[in-house]
Symmetry: C2
Subunit: 321 residues, 2 copies
DNA sequence: ATCCAAATTTGACTTTTGTCGAGAGCCGTG
DNA sequence: CACGGCTCTCGACAAAAGTCAAATTTGGAT
């Protein structure tokens, strides 16, 4: 009899194994199934978030540098991934840390805003599963028909899937060709409601984009490399949730920004916990801009970036005094 | 070089193993130690709550009976442990479930009140470890020089230890020989402060005691079997946090109660989440009294007890109509 | 300075767990 | 009603994790 292995059975196996501490063969006896099946159920239980294995991220905030950064940048919490210390690929380390931090920040009943980018998708990809049924994951910005797998809607959905949460997608393109059209679309009830709902979020997850030819905006055809370079000369310092900000962390006054459908910076700043994750060292200036603009309260970075931020804060303070 | 295996090293090993998903031998390579040491560190990490393995208790609330009980008894949540379904000893099952539920209810920064009894100690004993450094566990009632290992202060400390939390003990006996002395002691600043602090708790954990010769109050010499029997005739229905309540869940007007140093029922009722755990079927009436008195918002019981409660609620409702 | 007790580390061994392909039951379809 | 596709299950093997006693190191006491 090969009945669909009811959630119930998975749950029972997980309970006996993890809560009661029985061995797999003991569980198998209890449930009258083979030990191999038990092993499979347990894997499923882990994958569906019925059991939850989390490791404390204390170590990474306990760092002295993290504390100093919190003070210097006026952030609520900073986590620093030790560069090259553990693994060959430091960016994976940052993503793994970010995923753990993210899961630690999520609370039951939360509404979570998610932006997009390679970093965000990497985090989604390595994030472990959790059972947060009353959580809602909302997309922070419109979609791009990207050739990559980390489209905005995919980032949102993947994270929702991992959390067993509800995913709310944005059914609009990120950039339109005219300002009028963008304005009209923003006024559409469906879109307007979703944009309005962003400020109700309890937690936001995003990274920051650089203003160069490697930007996803260029790669996805939203802007040409030349346009990007021009924007840079006009003061563009970074890209957040598809929008271009200046060095002060304010929206740059440009046609592109007016054609974008995305979470306004004001809505973002209202969100209680704004988790920013930065992997690449090259994103130093963009990150400074985002911090200046108050777009992040919680920060996950690598050790090298942390050092640079600290040095910068030090010299700024000196100049000021 | 056998340096004290700094917390740091345990943390790193746990991180690589659980967060990054490396194998133990890979971790051993990374950290330049033997795999055996890694295995030991990982056990320590689990025991100190650096890693946290929890299994969802959904299954036990999803039960239809649990839902009906919540409605019938006006409780916030009910968990039902399937009797005899899983293991030989059903009371263990209830305790394991209670421990999981308890850990699920604790939040960072919480203040937790803990009473005492065999049930509470059993829960403490099988509870897994967690890393909740900013949690405070306070003792709800005075101490008894009991010949058992589940003295009030031990229950409190054991739970605090498991949680890596701060434990606050009560430095007073549970019962005094005269009412005057009890009153005087209650007015002592140290004691008064602690009693006052009880209503600040976010979560309470207790069971209910029966009014019979088997009661711990009798076994520990606080009352004689004859006195207990007399109290029973006077309307005593149960024992909670060392105090005797009547069938309506109110403090029984008796000398014993006036000589007790413990959390007043009013203070208890102020606590947001009051988790009551009952293992023995014999505690049906005491439990009814506690529920009637609004002393519990969250309940963990076995299936048989749940059925009895439901039947009782049904017949009460019939009578009323 | 030297020794002792306690704690840590390790290699070797045992137990437990993960995985794979074969086989069996279920279900919709032709 | 037979057929294929599907998923679930199981036995057996391989891999990984747990354990133990002996060896080593540490820190403190004499």
């Amino acid at each position: 009899m090969a009945i669909r292995p009811a959630e119930q059975l998975i749950h029972k196996a997980a309970w006996l194994y993890y809560a009661h501490g029985l061995r797999q063969d003991e569980v198998a006896n209890q449930l009258n199934i083979s030990r191999a099946s038990v092993a499979m159920y347990l894997r499923k239980a882990r994958e569906t978030g019925i059991v939850n294995i989390s490791t404390s991220t204390q170590l990474f905030t306990d760092d002295v540098m993290a504390r100093r950064l919190e003070d210097a940048l006026k952030l609520d919490a900073v986590w620093i991934a030790p560069e090259n210390a553990y693994l060959a690929d430091p960016s994976t380390d940052i993503a793994v840390l970010a995923a753990s931090v993210f899961l630690e920040l999520v609370r039951k009943g939360d509404r979570i805003g998610v932006a997009w980018g390679r970093t965000v998708y990497t985090i989604a990809d390595i994030m472990s599963y959790a059972d947060l049924q009353d959580v809602t994951v909302v997309q922070l910005c419109g979609n791009l028909g990207a050739p990559y797998s980390y489209r905005p809607d995919q980032c949102t959905m993947e994270i929702a899937r991992r959390l067993n949460a509800k995913g709310l997608n944005f059914y609009a393109p990120l950039v339109l060709s005219t300002e009028d059209l963008a304005q009209g679309l923003r006024a559409e009830p469906v879109i307007r409601d979703q944009l309005a709902g962003i400020s109700d979020c309890d937690l936001a997850l995003y990274s920051i984009g650089a203003v160069d030819a490697d930007s996803h905006l260029v790669k996805c055809g939203a802007l040409t490399a030349a346009e990007m370079a021009a924007l840079r000369r006009e003061g563009a310092a970074g890209v957040i949730a598809g929008q271009i900000i200046d060095a002060g962390g304010e929206l740059l006054d440009c046609s592109y920004n007016r054609r974008v459908i995305s979470a306004g910076l004001a809505s973002l700043r209202v969100i209680g916990k704004r988790l920013m994750v930065v992997q690449e060292d090259s994103k130093f200036e963009p990150l400074l801009a985002a911090i200046a603009g108050g777009l992040c309260t919680h920060l996950v970075v690598g050790a090298r970036m942390a050092q640079r931020l600290l040095d910068h804060a030090g010299t700024s303070a000196e100049k000021a005094s």
